[in-house]
């Protein structure tokens, strides 16, 4: 087998055309000319699996990525969920399984799942149960002992036949027997050795005495077999849950005055900011919850553009919104939490570092303005590499972080002059110009005539040809002119389209110079 791009994982459609994992991409394209290929991204997949495990925490606090079995990358991953005692919260184990698979399917994650008493059995059923279809299934376990579930997921966005299996307790053996030996999470050489002596199914292995098996094929085999059948325990460690940043103050007597609320908020902020500082994080979003005596709750939200943990700054952001708090008969507790945080280096609050202080000052100002007026009303200008003038400069909320791949303004500078203001909709005007492509001489707008004293141009800006549809390619070509009027104003005009005798081109004003 020579080198070359190799296919690791395929979806159902590709499989139907005959493309299987292991063939080269060239062969695959020969079988299926419209084959779409995505580069394998190991770290990206691992990160995505971690996120899925965190999502799996909606079913049980005990969830994690399964790394008990080393295998070559195949675009699939395993997750397990220990759902002991959680089944009834979702209306039963099968309902839980259905809900899980439905949600995964909705997000275009092909998955198979199974529930069983032991992780080994669950893994085996998920991957190999249902016979014939390629691996990745989850296994769940139910029973008096700790039920667990494994969810194996694929990263391919297409759908697979979804199957789920729920192993009834104490019936492990009968389900596991027909499965191939591969389902025991054994290394390749062991599986090969086993098949050489004719041991291909788990059912073949179970009745054999353990000691000679271990001696001949290694202790791993016995361990896996015992783990699958439940005679040996297999502890699973869950993913560490994220740290919650939360501070709560309850009052022996309810408060209702604005100063009291603000004072409590100040204390809460100090506690929370200390927590953040210990973890080296800054808050991006904060939520204040006021619990009222009559059971009502009010939430106030505040966001920042950059991670922040300065109590005074965050207090100012909240102050604008404190007026909306309705104490009612009194507030009995206030809870402040930071649901969204980002890493943040040490902050020198009292240092004079001018540049840093100014950068921080500007960021805090943006926070205050955005929180009061709304993110969409506080914007910055972002450059885009585009020939089309109206696309070259875009407005983006100032609160959002600058994306890493944003080009610098200097790199996009154009030699030709550009206006300082662009009209949102170009204004049509009637122009007198010498044909076919001479500069404009005078124009009429809103009943008024304007004489053009000097003009620079034309600057031809053609539409991006890769966006053009077939048809009239030169109809939206624009010839731009910078013109100076008699009264000293300078405008940016363009003629749309080339001159045709039967169809005179249209002229517009698009920008205003300084």
């Amino acid at each position: 087998m020579s080198g070359g791009l190799r296919v690791i994982s395929v979806d159902a459609l590709a499989r139907a055309s005959g493309v299987v994992p292991g063939v080269t991409l060239a062969d695959g394209r020969a079988l299926e000319p419209n084959l779409g290929a995505i580069d394998f991204d190991g770290p990206g997949d691992a990160e995505a699996l971690e996120k899925l495990a965190a999502w799996g925490r909606r079913y049980t606090p005990w969830s994690g990525v399964d790394d008990s079995f080393e295998r070559p990358p195949d675009g699939c991953g395993d997750l397990w969920l220990d759902i002991s005692g959680c089944g009834h919260l979702f209306g039963g184990e099968s309902a839980l399984l259905e809900d899980l698979l439905m949600r995964l399917e909705r997000n275009h994650i092909a998955a198979r799942a199974a529930i069983a008493d032991t992780p080994g059995a669950a893994w085996a059923m998920a991957r190999f149960g249902g016979g014939g279809l390629p691996p990745t299934k989850a296994a769940r376990q139910s029973g008096e002992r700790s039920p667990r579930a494994c969810v194996a997921t694929e990263r391919s966005p297409r759908e697979w036949a979804l199957e789920n299996t729920i192993l009834p307790p104490n019936r492990l053996r009968s389900y596991l027997e027909p499965l191939p030996v591969l389902a025991l999470r054994l290394p390749g050489p062991t599986v090969e050795a086993l098949s050489k002596v004719g041991l291909r199914r788990i059912g073949d292995l179970i009745p054999l005495p353990r000691a000679p098996l271990a001696k001949r094929f290694g202790p791993e085999l016995a361990k896996r077999l015992d783990q699958a059948l439940g005679s040996r325990s297999e502890p699973l460690s869950p993913q560490a849950p994220p740290v919650d940043f939360i501070a709560r103050i309850a009052f022996p007597e309810c408060i209702a005055q604005r100063e009291d609320i603000e004072g409590t908020l100040e204390r809460l902020l100090e506690i929370l900011c200390k927590q953040l500082e210990k973890s080296g994080l800054g808050a991006r979003k904060l939520t204040l919850r006021c619990d009222r005596v009559d059971g009502g709750r009010q939430h106030l939200h505040v966001g920042t553009g950059h991670p922040a943990r300065k109590p005074s700054h965050l207090l100012r952001l909240f102050r604008e919104k404190l007026d909306t708090v309705e104490p009612g008969f009194g507030i009995e507790a206030m809870v402040l939490s930071a649901p969204f945080t980002n890493p943040m280096e040490g902050q020198q609050d009292d240092m004079e570092g001018a540049a840093q202080q100014n950068g921080q000052g500007a960021a805090e100002l943006v926070d205050r303005l955005s929180n009061k007026l709304g993110n969409a009303k506080v914007i910055r200008l972002t450059p885009q590499a585009s020939h089309i003038p109206e696309c070259a400069s875009r407005e983006a909320p100032a609160m959002e972080a600058t994306p890493a791949n944003e080009p610098a303004w200097e790199s996009l500078a154009k030699p030709a002059p550009r206006p300082i203001k662009l009209l949102t909709n170009p204004v049509p005007i009637e122009v007198l110009a010498s044909v076919p492509d001479g500069p404009p001489v005078r124009f009429k707008w809103q009943g008024q005539h304007h004489r053009i004293v000097s003009a620079q141009g034309p600057e031809r800006i053609a539409p991006e040809w890769w966006h053009l549809e077939a048809g009239h390619p030169d109809q939206t070509t624009r010839d731009y002119f910078q013109v100076e009027l008699q009264d000293g104003r300078r405008l940016w005009l363009f003629r749309e389209g080339l001159y045709r005798p039967d169809n005179p081109p249209r002229w517009y004003v698009q920008g205003v110079f300084g």
């Binding site: 007026l373 303004w409 550009r418 300082i420």
Partner: protein
């Protein structure tokens, strides 16, 4: 002679009492001046440039406000670019209902203002624009704040001036064409009009008139023609249009 000297010292005392701008002239505060790069204009200003704190009013000299008016905005961008020079940010408070236009990055760049140092607020009305301006001035996070304000009364301009002093930030007010000039407590007041450059190709050219300046020293012109050098992009004063000696005397009433 003695009278002139005592008048001078009295003036100094009053300037010191009156606060910013005055303290700049006296050199008392940690004064930072932002020179405009136009020596004739810089000389006419008592600070040798614009002070780092204080509010200035820029009035459009067009006959009436319409969509194609760009001269006052251009001069405002030019001033902002001087404030943003030291790698600092500037704030621009626009109004959504005023004009059907948006700021265009490449154009700002060609006037010397790096668009990545600009934060724009799209206010709904004068009140919001003034509030945002005040926040910006007080915050000390930006070097200058430019606000487009339609109606401005004495109280509002006073508030802005106080906020500017508190935050050591310069304020620029961009106003539409005015028939009558109301009283306001700004440091300087300018009228800007776009004029023909008179060359083969369109070149940026303004007629800039300094209508009013607190603490102005005597005997300098107050109207200039500012043009852009097409090759270098630098601005220069092409002509002094009005030379009217200002007589020495008691401090004139503001107006």
């Amino acid at each position: 002679m003695a009278q002139a000297a005592s008048l001078l010292s009295l003036r100094e005392q009053i300037r010191r009492i009156e606060g910013v701008g005055a303290s700049m002239v006296g050199g008392r505060k940690g004064d930072v001046r932002v020179p405009l790069g136009l020596p004739e204009i810089d000389r006419a200003l008592p600070w040798g440039g614009l002070p780092s704190a204080g509010v200035h009013e820029l009035i459009s000299g067009a006959t009436k406000a319409d969509l194609f008016d760009g001269a006052a905005v251009g001069f405002a961008v030019f001033l902002l670019s001087k404030f943003a020079a030291a790698n600092r940010a500037v704030l621009w408070c626009r109004q959504k209902n005023r004009g059907f236009d948006r700021l265009y990055g490449p154009g700002l760049q060609s006037l010397g203002l790096p668009p990545n140092r600009l934060v724009v607020v799209k206010a709904a009305d004068d009140k919001e624009a003034l509030w945002a301006m005040e926040e910006g001035l007080r915050s000390a996070g930006v070097a200058a704040v430019l606000g487009e304000v339609g109606k401005l009364d004495l109280t509002a301009s006073r508030r802005l001036q106080l906020a500017s002093e508190a935050g050591d930030t310069a304020g620029l007010l961009l106003r539409p064409p005015q028939k009558t000039l109301a009283a306001s407590s700004v440091l300087t007041r300018w009228r800007i009009e776009g004029v023909q450059a008179g060359g083969e190709i369109p070149t940026t050219a303004w007629e800039v008139e300094l209508l009013r300046c607190r603490y102005r020293s005597a005997g300098h012109a107050q109207r200039w023609r500012v043009e852009e050098n097409h090759e270098t992009g630098a601005f220069f004063v092409a002509a002094d249009l009005c030379h009217r000696p200002v007589e020495e005397g008691p401090i004139r009433a503001t107006g």
